[in-house]
Symmetry: C2
Subunit: 236 residues, 2 copies
């Protein structure tokens, strides 16, 4: 069976994190991932146990849903997952950009695709030690090379603890010219449970105090605004 | 008596709103303002009744405090107020940029200054009808002209109600090439009172739903993150 594996398409809402925070966005969340981060907040798009809930859609069908949700008004489309880089979005990006839409992609940087170079924003989010995954830096470098044609490439790193923080500093030293966004990790990823806003606030404050105490002013520090506002609710 | 009128210098913390949200920043809040917005959240830097609490500082003294707080590590300095545009920051900006610091300025756009052109980020925040003030568009245009040399000029508009929202759409139509940031107004500005995070969250959601319902995807929509996280606490 062919076609794109799509876990959900939703929006428009605002992007809740990173370089495009606040930007009206339609999200195309793809199904399938080559990683299994222990704190994954999107297991419904990652774990093959949910595979039955993923739609097989043609590029035409995905594009029709994007234009329906946005009512034909161009905006930013975010390709997220799962890992969208394991699929081919060349045709969707070309179709959308022709109509004035912009495309962002969020990926861990484990698989490089030629279509990275067609993006408006390539967000590479290498996973820190707390994820349980190990970054293949050759593959990561290949992603950066593939994204050379993108309007912008940025780094986003999730920080759960001191080890993640130290690791982020090493990553920053490796890529000094790429804009870097840090965000505190969210350990409360069960959609059936409410999140504790005080805990999220405390985690952001902890991270702000780390960078300011260290005089490390290169990264921007941002929360997951959507979680702060709406918890783990899906579709916002 | 000469020198700069300074209400407070604080940080580093993260910028809580607008184009530079999340950016580690030292804030130089100036004393004095030509506006009296009814919902002003910085009356301690605006109302002459607080004038005795404003320091008179030389450029050297302000710069010494910025370097002390940032421990000599370059970061973004935000000139806010009050209205910083009623004073002369030419020398401070030159001194700081020589040392690798970046400068942003937040002003309502009522007074143009040549030093706007030296800024890294000029944030023009025209005040909507709910403020009780009326924008002088000739003065505002002069601010945009004065900022031509800045790295970026952006618009930020606070939205309290439907009238403000309709007004923001007119402003956006007038300046289609300037990036626009919308933020919900905060009616809870008494520093002695706690804020209601649910009310702030509801106001952001209302604004997100307005732009998405209208298919108005040009502006970014962001909260005042510092208020959401830390209420009206000063110095963060």
């Amino acid at each position: 069976m062919t076609g794109l594996r799509i876990a959900e398409i939703f929006g428009p809402t605002i992007q809740g994190e990173g370089a495009l925070i606040g930007e009206p966005t339609v999200f195309v969340r793809t199904g399938g991932c080559d990683y299994r981060c222990v704190w994954c907040d999107s297991l419904h798009a990652v774990d093959p146990v949910h595979r039955q809930s993923w739609a097989r859609m043609t590029t035409d069908q995905v594009w029709a849903e994007i234009t329906r949700l946005s009512r034909g008004n161009p905006l930013t489309v975010s390709l997220s997952g799962g890992n969208p880089a394991i699929q081919d979005f060349t045709a969707l990006i070309a179709r959308g950009q022709q109509a004035g839409y912009r495309f962002a992609c969020e990926t861990q940087g484990s698989v490089a695709k030629p279509w990275f170079g067609d993006l408006d924003t390539l967000v590479l989010s290498p996973k820190p030690p707390s994820s349980g995954e190990t970054v293949d830096w050759d593959a990561f470098d290949a992603c950066i090379m593939a994204g050379q044609g993108a309007v912008q490439t940025v780094l986003k790193i999730v920080i759960f603890d001191d080890a993640d923080y130290a690791w982020a500093q090493q990553v920053a030293a490796r890529f000094p010219t790429l804009p870097l966004y840090l965000q505190p990790g969210n350990p409360q990823v069960d959609p059936a449970q409410p999140v504790d806003p005080q805990d999220l606030s405390d985690r952001l404050l902890w991270l702000v105090e780390k960078v300011t105490a260290d005089g490390w002013f290169a990264p921007r520090v941002l929360p997951q605004l959507h979680v702060l506002l709406w918890g783990n609710k899906r579709g916002v």
